[in-house]
């Protein structure tokens, strides 16, 4: 952007006066000519217009576009709202409307005491349920323990019997071995001696050299 253009645009924006602009552009005939043309147009633009403006009623146009017909006033929504409010009020208030045996009764109750009673009842029920559950759990636990104890007793008894049987078998075997060993020892050591042993006063006759049988 040239300096002259800047000066001219400052004048256009009203930041410098016409005289200042002319002075600064006096060596730029092209820009001076533009300034003169612009001044002529601006003069015309500043002249007030006197032509009558035709009347154009745009209200109908606006109404058809942006104005909505007012809704017909109906009382039903208000009645509905009022009845809803009344129902809410009755349900929240201590008043109770009861239809019983063909008679309609309205009574007032203390909602706080009813609430306390309801809470108390709920707590009692809860406590009972908890106690029942605990008792049930205890019973189940005891049954489990008993059954496990029985199983343990059977196992121990079986094991004991098995051990005793095993011990007895070992004992019998040991005894048999011992007897066998004793018999063998007797045979080896004492039987020959016994066979050859004849006491002098033996009653029983034994063959002798003399041929006389001893009594």
């Amino acid at each position: 952007m040239s300096n002259n253009q800047q000066i001219f645009e400052l004048w256009l924006d009203g930041k410098i006066s016409t005289e200042q602009c002319k002075t600064q552009l006096q060596h730029a005939p092209e820009w001076l000519a533009r300034l003169n043309s612009a001044m002529a147009i601006r003069r015309d633009a500043n002249t007030p217009e006197f032509d009558a403006i035709p009347v154009f009623d745009s209200s109908a146009l606006f109404a058809s576009q942006w104005q909505r017909p007012k809704a017909k006033r109906s009382w039903w929504p208000q009645v509905s709202l009022a009845l809803s409010c009344a129902a809410m009020l009755i349900s929240l208030s201590p008043a109770q409307l009861q239809l019983q045996d063909g008679s309609l009764s309205l009574r007032w109750s203390n909602s706080q005491s009813e609430l306390n009673a309801a809470v108390e009842s709920a707590l009692t029920t809860y406590q009972q349920q908890q106690q029942q559950w605990l008792a049930q759990q205890l019973t189940l636990q005891q049954q489990n323990t008993n059954s496990q104890l029985v199983l343990l007793k059977d196992y121990l008894q079986d094991e004991l019997k098995r051990d005793q049987r095993s011990d007895m078998l070992q004992l019998v075997e040991h005894l048999n071995q011992q007897r066998q060993a004793d018999w063998q020892y007797w045979q080896d050591n004492y039987q020959p001696i016994q066979a050859s042993y004849r006491p002098d006063n033996s009653y029983y006759l034994t063959p002798t050299t003399s041929g006389v049988d001893k009594p």
Binding site: R34, R43, D44, F50, D51, I53, P54, S59, F62, Q65
Partner: protein, 186 residues
């Protein structure tokens, strides 16, 4: 007196407030009418343009987002419609409409010594191509900035300036030729 902003009037109008709509219209009606009168050259066309722009404005009022000034937004509609009219009928100089303009305010013509010169300026403005005439109209008569003009015409600011200076140069040449012709007639 407290003057309500355009945005406030638009918001009210969108709620169905007819008074706000009337205020909005009356605020820009004259500017739009004279804009059409200068650009299109006849009162009928200016009136048609005014009605057309107001109808478009009424239909599209809800689409104004406040990204530019309302006047700038409104004139972007007016520019488009006016250029559309000019494109549809190739503007030919109508002496009758010029005479009509000149005869409208004879008393004022006598009062103002420079009236004749202004008539010459208006006459020569009408000789300019429509795009150049529109730039001068928006700059001098509607006092928009180059950025606003560029935004309205969907062109760059440099293009707007270029058209503006070309229009000024052409107008100067036409005024000089006209002056020479008048001197020769005398």
């Amino acid at each position: 007196m407290f003057k309500r902003s355009d945005e406030s009037l638009i918001a009210k109008a969108l709620e169905g407030d007819q008074h706000a709509w009337q205020q909005l219209v009356s605020r820009y009606q004259s500017a739009l009418y004279y804009f059409g009168l200068r650009l299109l050259g006849s009162k009928e066309d200016a009136n048609d343009l005014l009605q057309d722009v107001l109808m478009v404005l009424c239909r599209n009022l809800g689409q104004y987002r406040g990204e530019s000034s309302f006047k700038s937004w409104l004139f972007s509609i007016a520019n488009y419609r006016a250029m559309d009219v000019l494109r549809r009928r190739k503007y030919s100089e109508d002496e009758q409409s010029l005479a009509e303009l000149a005869d409208d305010s004879p008393a004022l013509c006598q009062q103002l010594s420079s009236k004749q010169q202004q008539q010459q300026v208006r006459l020569q403005l009408r000789q300019l191509p429509a795009e150049q005439r529109l730039i001068l109209e928006l700059k001098f008569y509607q006092q928009f900035t180059f950025d606003e003009i560029a935004s309205q015409l969907a062109i760059s600011s440099n293009t707007a300036k270029s058209r503006f200076y070309t229009a000024l140069d052409k107008l100067r040449l036409q005024l000089e030729d006209d002056h020479v012709e008048q001197s020769a007639n005398f």
